[in-house]
Symmetry: C2
Subunit: 250 residues, 2 copies
DNA sequence: CGAGATGTTGAGACATGTCAAAGCCAGTGG
DNA sequence: CCACTGGCTTTGACATGTCTCAACATCTCG
């Protein structure tokens, strides 16, 4: 596992068209793009963004209990957050795909309550939180968006806290993943799992063996077609039926 | 179960000293009291607060999927939030004691993703969210406090999503409750459980029978002394040892 | 091609859930 | 004051979903 150095973090300018293409799917899109276009605040917002990466898989963005300073929007690749319990076992708290924002839970204590690590080659936007909070006092739309994103994370975090069966958890997980891919314009039925079975299991609070077995059974029952990390959702409606109790909270 | 009417909700003025005494323990204390004292913004903040209640136990503050309009600070009594799953069973998402803020998770979709209900005779402060968000653009300390509170709820929500044993969950629950009481100046070792065993069980994702059995065993092992809804924490350090993996996320 | 990580499959163990019944307390009405 | 009712809580016996452990299969990458 490598760690970002201050040098790697340094602002890497990115003025090409690809940047705006990414931005349309970013968590701040509604703030950056339609609203403030032309406003001086927009310039400020773009100013305080550092484009960082690409980083190889298993790069630490921040560690558990690091001082909180910034939130990260994934541009390409994927990130997981996790804590290590006292037995040294990893508990995955979340997966973050392009357009999603990592690190908001660090605001509370001014420390990240978890670690974050890339799952794949990943590029990101880094937003200094003090800077963006200051800007938010002058940009109500930005403040509103920050409130919404944090509020969403509250609901999302309580999603998996229910006493759900392995089947319910897995069905909901796959559908959620597919929907998030679809939001960025990718297929809603075919999905590439960037994370290992162990990561999925840890996230869903299951044993890796259970994940394996349930996926097997889903495949035998014609719900999905899976081969290693490539998967097709064959029967979305039955999956939806299975996962609905979990999904209602998202 | 009774429901608040618009009339009951109407602003009930409360200018006495008791109000400020409450305010010192409120989630917005740091904003209302030390900072802006004397500022016109403070007057505005106090202006947009409605003091409502007291309501009897089992009064609905809001229902699942109601339009989101306000957050509520508990002044006295207690509140639980919950959802009803498709089998009609209640899943408790959180308990809120005096000084704590209910409803922040409604921001995201402009709808409450859960219902909220009093557990006891309860009085509250009602903050219109649009109003307070607008004010927050002019009061950075208020904005910061809202960010912190939401961020805290994210961590708190992921606390119970781990795969913890019944013992770990219960130990952490009791300590958390005691600490929250202690923050408001009450005893950190003696606590009155405002919620039923079934509520505790639902919150911890256990069967009520399991809660009963674990409490029994805790008592036999000299960790606590419990009689109905009154409880004394007899051995905090051993409880802490038991609950530490859960508590580290709070 | 071999080594190590990752994923799969099987057998048995265990924590917690479920079902059923009894105990206990608070409030009600005679 | 007592008996009665109805909710909550406790206790016991049993069922079961998931975990653990262990072996094996498969892929990745040097």
């Amino acid at each position: 596992m490598t760690v970002m150095t201050a040098v790697e973090r340094s602002l890497s300018l990115d003025g090409d068209g690809d940047s705006t293409r990414f931005c349309t799917t970013c968590a701040f899109a509604s703030v950056c793009l339609p609203h403030g276009y032309g406003k001086p605040e927009l310039a400020e917002l773009h100013c305080l963004i550092e484009h960082i990466g690409p980083f190889p898989a298993a790069t630490a963005l921040f560690r558990d209990r690091d001082n909180f300073g910034a939130v990260y929007a994934v541009r390409a690749g994927a990130v997981k957050t996790f804590v290590i319990d006292e037995h040294g076992r990893e508990q995955v708290l979340g997966f973050f795909l392009p357009g999603e924002l990592v690190g908001l839970n660090g605001v509370y204590r001014n420390r990240y309550p978890c670690a974050a690590q890339t799952l794949d080659t990943t590029t990101l936007c880094r937003f200094s939180f003090p800077a963006i909070a200051t800007l938010a006092t002058r940009m109500p739309a930005l403040q509103q968006q920050l409130f919404r994103l944090m509020s969403k994370d509250i609901s999302k975090a309580s999603m998996l806290s229910g006493d759900f069966s392995a089947d319910e958890r897995l069905a909901a997980f796959l559908l959620d993943l597919a929907d998030r891919q679809a939001q960025r314009g990718y297929s809603a039925t075919h999905l590439h799992l960037v994370m290992s079975r162990a990561d999925i299991a840890s996230y869903l609070r299951l044993a890796p063996e259970t994940v394996s077995r349930v996926l097997r059974r889903f495949q035998d029952d014609g719900l999905i077609a899976v081969e290693r990390r490539e998967m097709a959702l064959a029967d979305r409606s039955r999956l939806q039926e299975l996962g609905k109790s979990v999904l209602r909270l998202i």
